[in-house]
Amino acid sequence: MTFRKYLVLAGITVFSTAGDSLLARGMKDLGGVSLHSLSTLLLAILNPWVALGILFLLTFFACYMSALSWADLTYVLPATSLAYVLVALIGHFRLHEVISPTRWVGIALIAAGVGFVAAGPSVTPSHERRNSQSAPRDIVSVEVKS
């Protein structure tokens, strides 16, 4: 379970980064879209980069929703910020962009924050939630019984 948990969190990071980069790559082919040619935005889906980007972002959303189904929002959310770090590292090592010292400090802060949360418990036990209404309903076991 723990391994799968980190796999889903890694999926959130990787797929959102890849999806955003693919979208950016595809939109560069189209050039600036003016307000008068909004139909170009609909046709943008036909661009293979954009289509692939949307597919990746949908996968990201599925991973994000799946993670939220078993973990706290305050546990999952910091993991999404690792995407900023990944973009910077890809830029540095693949595209040979220079990363300023301030940005390295930023990368370290984000990584430290994510590590801090990931090492702790992932979900608040339902009996600790003050309002029982918001406690998770165990639909699966209810269905299995019926």
Binding site: R4, M65, S66, L68, S69, W70, D72, L73, T74, Y75, V76, L77, P78, S81, Y84, V85, A88, S100, T102, R103, V105, G106, I107, A108, L109, I110, A111, A112, G113, V114, F116, V117, A119, G120, T124, E128, R129, R130, N131, S134, A135, P136, R137, D138, I139, V140, E143, V144
Partner: protein
Amino acid sequence: MKEICAWSAIGLIVLASTTGDVLLSYSMKRVGHVGELWKHCGVLAAIGRVLATPTFALGLMAMGVAFYSLLFGLSWGNLSLVVPASASLTFVANAVAARIFLHERVGRRRWIAALLVAGGVVLMAV
């Protein structure tokens, strides 16, 4: 005037995306563990269960509002102000909202993490 517009857009982004995240998280907690649901009832049943949750649609709508506020904000302010300011404030706002509305136990560990990530996001954009 331009700055007021940019900052009110930032406020709108933070408000909308926090609302969206809280609603989505709430719906997924109601649905229950998606992986287990998939195993027992199949993938279509799991997706259907998620889509049938009313708060899920509301959450998606709030995310849409956040996206258009971002476009609005970018037309008034610089990319280097609007994106990091809204992203880092959203991390802190989410920690507060998750504690109040979702009754999550946001301990010292998670507060420090939210502040570290928020600070890191700002530094990355400088």
